[in-house]
């Protein structure tokens, strides 16, 4: 699935929820289920500090695909982080760098991307894109 298809799938999943609480139950469940990051990577150099909650992010490239893992100390953030990973992980650096991430807005959680909210999710997305850009640039130089 492309990044766009994955996002559309999430939007379709969320369209079944009738009220906010159901939506949150689902996001929290995602947050609870996934062991997102190897404990060894929960170090300060992987930490994206937000005012409200913290996010750790690790990225590596395997066989031309970028693999992300991440975690957060807040469950709702963690649930959203897992969705972002589902969307972006496993794609090429080029695709990740060019991706338009619209699903967070569409499922009604835009506030999580507000800079004043500062919960680490926005910074994490920026970091992911930066990592992809760095990889992409390196690949171009290697060619």
């Amino acid at each position: 699935m492309t990044i766009k298809e994955k996002q559309d799938e999430i939007i379709a999943d969320f369209s079944f929820f009738e009220d906010w609480m159901d939506k949150y139950e689902y996001i929290i469940q995602l947050g609870k289920e996934l062991p997102l990051i190897d404990e060894a990577f929960k170090t300060d150099d992987k930490l994206i500090k937000g005012c409200q909650s913290r996010v750790w992010m690790h990225a590596e490239e395997k066989e031309g695909k970028v693999l992300f893992s991440a975690d957060s100390d807040a469950l709702i953030t963690k649930g959203l982080v897992s969705l972002v990973i589902k969307v972006l992980s496993g794609h090429s650096a080029e695709d990740i760098h060019n991706a338009d991430i619209y699903f967070i807005d569409q499922i009604g959680l835009k506030s999580h991307l507000s800079p004043t909210r500062s919960n680490g999710l926005l910074s994490m997305l920026k970091q992911m894109k930066l990592y992809a850009l760095a990889l992409k640039t390196r690949h171009q130089l290697e060619k």
Partner: protein, 415 residues
């Protein structure tokens, strides 16, 4: 303790009061709003909103300048606001009331101007471990600039100042003590009268950050004998961008102006400028006229309800909230000082404050989560932040019950 005299104070009619605050009828995600973020900012009554709109509609004009009718009218109302503030905190003279942009601005003014006049290399400035960042950073800037030392009076696990430690820090090198009357994150009410007396016995002047006090408890600068006091209009039902600095006239005369510009000058030549008299010496540029007029209405509103009645009502509500919140067994209060007002901070075992705050929001309940601009306190209690519910006289016991229900729901979802 409620005295006989207090019993005679009029009881607040909260249902009637709530009609004055149009925003309280708002629906949030299909729920009626429960606003428990009053320590961040209070809502505004129609009386305040109307007075601001009346100014812009009917007599908008610059103050202290024009000979024309509108300017005179604006000036009269602007200066009336100063007298209202003077009476509200029982200052000696309106010369002692400086209009600023807010508490932070007031503290910055003193740190800068008092600092220039009195703080030298090797001197010390005292603050407490329960400061809002606004009462830390201006003094840090001053101390760095002057090569002075910033000392911090510690607090205990209950969130109370350790008085013996304070006394140990007091000596002749201390130039000024700055502390909050009421802590914004712990709700602690400091025994300021006793603290001011102790500071004065060593010749140390005191600045009180009263941002979380004036809206909850009667504040009398003469009785406190405080040297400087700062508060914000928007936390006492007035508009944002407006604040007060009270200073004893003798101190304000001794310190230099803060910013230069119009209004604060007497005469200007390229060689030398002489400054205007108090309070204008500290008010450079066109002031926040609408802000002053709005604050005037806000203070009149509060006075009309009676700050004593407010104090009694809010205290009862606070005690009720403590009792109800205690029923949640995973809940731990952060800050358990004997004397508290305004805010209750807590955490819920194995949950992140941010998650709890977000689930409360979706139930129409507005609280604040995070470190509340008091990171050193959070470090002391070794927590990332708290959930803070802060109260006003327009809040009710029913709303407290909704908070408890909302917290139980959050707990159920998160644990």
């Amino acid at each position: 303790m409620i005295t006989q005299e207090q019993k005679e104070i009029t009881k607040l009619d909260v249902n009637k009061i709530r009609i004055d605050f149009p925003i309280l009828n708002t629906n949030i995600y299909g729920h009626s709003l429960v606003y428990f973020d009053n320590a961040a900012t209070t809502q505004k009554p129609n009386q305040v909103i109307d007075s601001i709109s009346d100014y812009y509609k009917n007599y908008n004009s610059n103050v202290h300048r024009g000979v024309h009718h509108l300017s005179q009218m604006a000036t009269d109302r602007f200066e009336e606001a100063r007298r209202t503030v003077r009476d509200f905190i029982n200052a000696e003279s309106e010369k002692e009331i400086i209009f600023t942009r807010g508490t932070s601005d007031s503290i910055n003014l003193i740190a800068s101007s008092f600092g220039k006049a009195f703080v030298r290399k090797g001197d010390r400035v005292l603050i407490t471990a329960m400061e809002h960042h606004s009462n830390i950073v201006p003094w840090q800037i001053l101390c760095e600039d002057r090569e002075a030392q910033l000392d911090v009076i510690p607090i205990d696990e209950k969130g109370e100042l350790i008085f013996e430690e304070f006394e140990k820090l007091l000596d002749s090198d201390v130039r000024i003590l700055a502390l909050p009357y009421v802590s914004n994150s712990l709700g602690t009410v400091n025994p300021v009268k006793k603290i001011i007396e102790a500071a004065h016995s060593h010749g140390v002047p005191v600045l009180l950050d009263a941002a979380q006090a004036v809206q909850h408890i009667p504040v009398d600068v003469k009785e406190l004998n405080v040297d400087f006091l700062a508060f914000s209009s928007h936390k006492i039902y007035g508009p944002t961008g407006m604040g007060i600095l009270y200073g004893k006239e003798e101190w304000l005369e001794k310190i230099p102006p803060y910013q230069g510009g119009g209004e604060m000058i007497h005469t200007v030549t390229f060689e030398k400028t002489t400054y205007n008299e108090l309070p204008f010496k500290f008010e450079a540029g066109t002031p926040n006229i609408a802000g002053a007029i709005g604050l005037d209405s806000a203070l009149k509103y509060v006075t009309n309800l009676g700050i004593d009645s407010i104090h009694i009502y809010e205290n009862k509500l606070y005690q009720y909230a403590l009792e109800k919140l205690s029923s949640i067994k995973e809940l731990t209060f952060i800050g358990e000082a004997k004397e508290r007002a305004g805010a209750i901070s807590f955490v819920i075992e194995n949950t992140h404050p941010f998650d709890v705050g977000e689930i409360l929001d979706k139930q129409g309940i507005a609280v604040r989560t995070g470190h509340h601009c008091t990171e050193p306190i959070m470090d002391q209690f070794k927590i990332p932040g708290t959930i803070r519910a802060s109260f006003s006289f327009y809040n009710t016991k029913d709303e407290v019950d909704r908070l408890v229900l909302g917290l139980n729901r959050a707990k159920q979802m998160l644990l």
